[in-house]
């Protein structure tokens, strides 16, 4: 009896320990970070886009980015708090030398930016994609194409259909927006939110795959996103 009682007591203690552990584990799971890099020619508005998303406003004055600028924004997707870490990279070659490998290391998503009023910046996208591929960025890493400065309607040089063709050819989503125009801020947010949603969905799949690799298919532990994704 005493042993039984002791056994019961041990069992209750184990359960409480297990709960504590589970709580501590849940606590220990920190906010996930999605690293998104923004690349493109100099002066296409990468910094402004990143600033618009993270700061919610258009910077009054910007200088050329040296190396890289890090910005973060915490977002909540399907009840999970996620940090979107935006790497605003330098467009000028002299400011990005020896930094490039850091840009692409463990990158989760890539945003290619071009200026709709400069055809050259659109034409250079090929070079940027080549660079991206040259750094062994997996094909599964989501990529989006962003045409910035849409508010300059009179000066547009890159037609939408041309950009759309390019995006389709490279399996990318196309966004045409303006970091300057406050009406477009929703659109700017949607670029990063869309990527975050895709990444979240991808990650959930990865977890499932990992579990499969362990030899256990747990269909009851469905971590797939719900339908609340904004994109």
């Amino acid at each position: 009896m005493a042993n039984e009682a002791h056994g019961r007591g041990e069992g209750a203690g184990l359960a409480s320990n297990s709960l504590d552990l589970s709580t501590s584990l849940e606590r220990s799971v920190q906010t996930r970070i999605f690293k998104i890099i923004v690349i493109g020619d100099s002066n296409v508005g990468k910094t402004c886009l990143a600033f618009r998303f993270t700061g919610g406003s258009f910077p009054a004055k910007t200088e050329a980015t040296i190396g890289v600028d890090f910005r973060e924004k915490a977002v909540e997707i399907e009840g999970e708090r996620i940090k979107v870490q935006v790497w605003d990279t330098a467009g000028q070659e002299r400011f990005r030398k020896s930094m490039v490998e850091h840009y692409y290391r463990n990158v989760h998503a890539v945003v290619f930016v071009y200026d709709v009023t400069k055809m050259a910046s659109f034409e250079n996208l090929k070079t940027w994609i080549q660079e991206c591929n040259g750094h062994r960025v997996s094909a599964s890493v989501p990529r989006v194409l962003v045409g910035n400065k849409c508010d300059l309607v009179d000066q547009i040089q890159v037609p939408s259909n041309m950009a759309l063709k390019f995006a389709d050819a490279h399996n990318m989503l196309l966004f045409e927006t303006s970091a300057k125009d406050p009406k477009e801020s929703q659109n700017v947010d949607s670029i990063f939110m869309c990527l975050a949603c895709r990444l979240k969905a991808q990650k959930s799949l990865i977890y499932r795959n990992v579990e499969r690799e362990d030899g256990r298919v747990r269909l009851n532990q469905e971590l797939n996103p719900k339908t609340s994704c904004p994109c």
Partner: protein, 237 residues
């Protein structure tokens, strides 16, 4: 005659021969003699006409001895008249010359006065120009001094600029290095966080899925240790 004198004379004669018309004196004398001859011929013809017009009663010429002196006087008179005419002509020529010269002189005076006025004006102008020149020279001197100062300033500024550029490049390099380190740090942090989340999530799921099989709870530190061994053993489950 002394030798030197004869030498001078010979040299002078030679010079005369070379420089002057050797026959000018001869022609002058000959023309004067021709004039005298004409005059005497004129006097002779006058006398002949007078004698023809007023012959004496017997048709014989009057005594030449008596008429000798009046003839001579007559000739002299004629010569004097001619000389007087010549002189009058010369006086008249000289007078006209004088008028001409006076006119020329007046013209020259007017020219002189005009030139003088011009000269005065030019002198004033020259004076002004001289003043200006001296002023410009002074200015030039000042400006050359300023230029020298500015050049030295420019030189020092260029040196400073070169230094500042070098500093800027160094700062840029340092900044890039900082950014590189920061990027590396963040990448490492991201990787560590991802790893941690992955393992914690997996552990959590395992904890939920098999609580009955788990005889002893695993501490976080052990999880981490196992994590550091990279793959948790399935046998322990």
């Amino acid at each position: 005659m002394e030798a030197w004198k004869s030498h001078v004379r010979a040299a002078l004669i030679h010079r005369d021969c070379l420089q002057k018309d050797p026959f000018s004196g001869l022609f002058t004398k000959m023309s004067r003699l021709e004039e005298m001859l004409n005059l005497q011929m004129g006097v002779w013809e006058d006398l002949e006409i007078d004698r023809i017009q007023s012959p004496n009663t017997n048709g014989v010429l009057q005594c030449p001895v008596e008429e000798k002196n009046p003839l001579k006087l007559y000739l002299q008179l004629k010569e004097e008249e001619q000389v007087r005419q010549k002189l009058a002509q010369k006086v008249s020529d000289l007078t006209s010359d004088l008028y001409l010269k006076e006119a020329e002189l007046q013209y020259c005076h007017s020219q002189v006065s005009r030139y003088r006025t011009e000269a005065v004006l030019l002198a004033r102008g020259a004076c002004c120009l001289k003043n200006d020149l001296s002023e410009y020279e002074y200015k030039l001197e000042c400006q050359s001094k300023q230029l020298a100062t500015l050049q030295s300033e420019q030189r020092s500024l260029r040196e400073e600029l070169a230094l500042v550029r070098q500093e800027k490049e160094e700062l840029l390099e340092r900044w890039l290095e900082e950014k590189r380190e920061e990027a590396e740090r963040i990448n490492k942090h991201n990787a560590a966080l991802e790893k941690w989340n992955s393992y914690a999530g997996r552990l959590n799921r395992r904890l939920y899925s098999g609580p009955r099989r788990q005889t002893r709870p695993t501490t976080n530190s052990r999880v981490i240790q196992r994590d550091s061994a990279d793959q948790p053993s399935t046998k322990q489950d």
